[in-house]
């Protein structure tokens, strides 16, 4: 019988972890005042959740390197952009003003 295989354990663990992080995010949304530190923490949580889903649910951890590179890159670049757009908001306004 295939019981308690590594696969199932990793999936179960990932699900629990993702639910906990989501709950923490919701707690932050309800309680924390906006700051760069909070933004940085949220960006890290986005990157981590994305990586967890990609590696274990989507099974990219051993997959084709090009797809892995683009997908992992997406979840590094976007959280970084969220943080940088907050940090350099005035510069962004100057760059995008019509």
């Amino acid at each position: 019988m295939l019981k308690n295989t590594f696969t199932l354990n990793v999936l179960d663990f990932s699900w629990v972890l993702l639910m906990i992080i989501t709950t923490a995010n919701a707690f932050v949304a309800e309680t924390a005042e906006p700051s760069l530190a909070i933004t940085a923490i949220i960006c890290c949580s986005i990157a981590y959740k994305g990586r967890r889903i990609m590696d274990y649910f989507m099974e990219l951890n051993h997959a084709n390197k090009t797809i892995q590179l683009f997908m992992r890159g997406y979840f590094h670049v976007l959280p970084a952009l969220i943080f940088l757009s907050d940090l350099f908001s005035e510069e962004l306004v100057a760059l995008t003003a019509l």
């Binding site: 993702l18 949220i42 889903i53 649910f57 951890n61 051993h62």
Partner: protein, 206 residues
Amino acid sequence: MTITAIDFHLNGSGEVTKEPETLNKIPGNRAVWVGIFAEMTEFALFFLVYFIAKAHYPEQFNQGPLKLNTLAGTLNTFALISSSYFVAKALASVRLNDPEKSIRWLWRAVFCGGVYLVIKIWEYHWNVDQGITTNTNNFYTVYYYLTFNHLLHVTWASGSLLWAIRQLKAGNYTQQNHLGFTAIACYWHMVDLAWVIIFPLLYVLR
């Protein structure tokens, strides 16, 4: 044959080997990945619009999330993460040659997709009751564009899960042949991934 956790690799395969099925391969097929990257690019453009709009209207983007229903957003995140988990379990079950179990996991995923849609529609009604519409301000315009676009993706991705259930019942997805199922699973995970970014952008960050 007795199989232990050491013998059975992370992702398994049709014959249960020591190598993951997706080792150095494209999970699913090329076509679905063209679609996935197109969708991810579309969402990335929406996110860029969000960054620029937030920089120009910081007060609206600071106050906007406070008036949204955080509980609805959180429950939707739970629903999508759970559905992704159920789809991954369904794929693992078909690899272990248990299509019935796979179908049960997929029905749970479809149920979560349905829960997401019900909550989102309820949330839109709740918003209107609070006086929040697409024209209220720039934050809510971006909110409606992003969330409605994502809702459409959840709707047709749920349809693809129903298709997978039908194929499993017909015996077209088996332990040896489930490439199409893997492609559908990847697409569903992409929809979940998009929400992983949308939820904090709209409900958490100010």
